[in-house]
């Protein structure tokens, strides 16, 4: 086998390696499809839930396929995002979601869920002394997963989730900054 053939074969092997990683990522992340299906079935606006679910799935798939440090953000991100998702879906089924009712229950549920998710991600990030490669993907996945439930109240729910999440991150971020300066 001459060097040209070997180079060509190496390129083919590289494609095989990438496809194998993609397949592995798909299998590894497939359980989220079940979560998405359940969320879509329970949601009052299935199209928005499905859109956020698809986005979360694609982001997670890419992160797992890419590997390295960002891969480690997938599980904490999705798990943290399940908190606002479950809270929002429950709140949505406790009452008939119209106007003020949503503002009374669903938006606070999203905000509280977001806060819990933010605290969880910040806690894990600080524990691992993780960098941007953890914080960004974990936050993205937590927000997308949570938004599957919070989108039922429209933008207000998603904004509530985002604000709650940001508030949850603040203590962790402050701890990190102070630890670095001292």
């Amino acid at each position: 086998m001459d060097s040209t053939d070997l180079t060509r074969f190496e390129r083919r092997a590289r494609v095989g390696y990438e496809f194998a990683r993609l397949r592995r990522a798909f299998v590894g992340f497939a359980p989220l499809l079940v979560v998405i299906a359940v969320a879509v079935a329970l949601a009052r606006h299935p199209s928005a839930t499905a859109a956020f679910g698809l986005a979360a799935f694609l982001v997670g798939l890419v992160l797992l396929w890419y590997g390295r440090d960002v891969r480690r953000a997938v599980l904490p991100g999705v798990t943290a995002g399940l908190v606002p998702l479950v809270l929002a879906l429950c709140a949505n089924h406790v009452h008939h979601c119209t106007g003020d009712g949503c503002m009374m229950l669903c938006v606070p549920a999203c905000a509280v869920g977001g806060l819990a998710a933010g605290l969880a991600v910040a806690g894990i990030g600080n524990q691992r002394r993780a960098g941007v490669a953890f914080w960004l993907p974990a936050s993205g996945l937590a927000l997308l997963t949570g938004a599957m439930g919070c989108s039922c109240v429209g933008y207000a729910g998603v904004v509530g989730l985002g604000l709650g999440y940001a508030a949850g991150l603040v203590p962790g971020a402050l701890r990190r900054i102070f630890a670095r300066t001292s």
Binding site: M1, L6, F9, E10, R12, A13, R14, G16, Y17, F19, A20, R21, R24, W65, Y66, G67, R68, R71
Partner: protein, 177 residues
């Protein structure tokens, strides 16, 4: 393969398993030679060896993400290559079969496969023959899934040492470095 090379390969393989694509070329370069040599020694035919080595390398790299960094990379990769050689040999044997073969010919092919099989077993036994009786007993107990004659931790240490010596013996006998 020197100890330092083995350690380097283990480290590279672990990085590739994590998704570090920058080491892909080096892993490929380091594994191609031993894989090709193993296939050549098992198949004893240049064309078949090249085919099997390519298939094996493709499989090894496809499974790179499954690589367990606590294990040595070279034996893991060569085990995949050896399996690939066995598969190719079976395929070739089957392809040579024609529907109107008379029973003598069919028996001949079965015998050929048996000979190949026996050749492989003989090679493994020759390598085992280089080991001490304790090492041989330890490996046999491992492969036959027998209950170990000594305590778990001691047995694990013995097994690790025996496997290391078997690897050295195999390298010495068949020149797979």
């Amino acid at each position: 393969m020197e100890q330092a090379d083995e350690e380097r390969l283990n480290a590279l393989m672990a990085r590739l398993a994590e998704g570090d694509r920058s080491v892909f070329h080096e892993v490929f370069k380091r594994l191609w030679g031993p894989t090709h040599r193993l296939c050549a020694s098992l198949l004893k035919n240049d064309a078949d060896a090249a085919d099997a080595a390519q298939e094996a390398m493709a499989k090894i790299l496809q499974r790179a993400s499954d690589y367990d960094p606590t294990r040595a990379a070279a034996p893991w990769a060569l085990a995949i290559a050896a399996w690939e050689c066995r598969t190719l040999r079976r395929k070739l044997t089957r392809r040579r079969e024609v529907p109107d073969l008379d029973s003598d010919q069919r028996a001949g092919e079965d015998t050929q496969e048996e000979l190949v099989e026996r050749d492989l077993v003989q090679s493994a036994l020759s390598a085992m023959g280089e080991l001490s009786p304790t090492d041989r007993d330890t490996l046999m107990a491992t492969f036959l899934d027998e209950s170990p004659p000594v305590a778990g931790a001691t047995f694990r240490k013995r097994r690790a040492r025996a496997l290391g010596r078997l690897r050295d013996a195999w390298k010495r006998l068949y020149g797979l470095d």
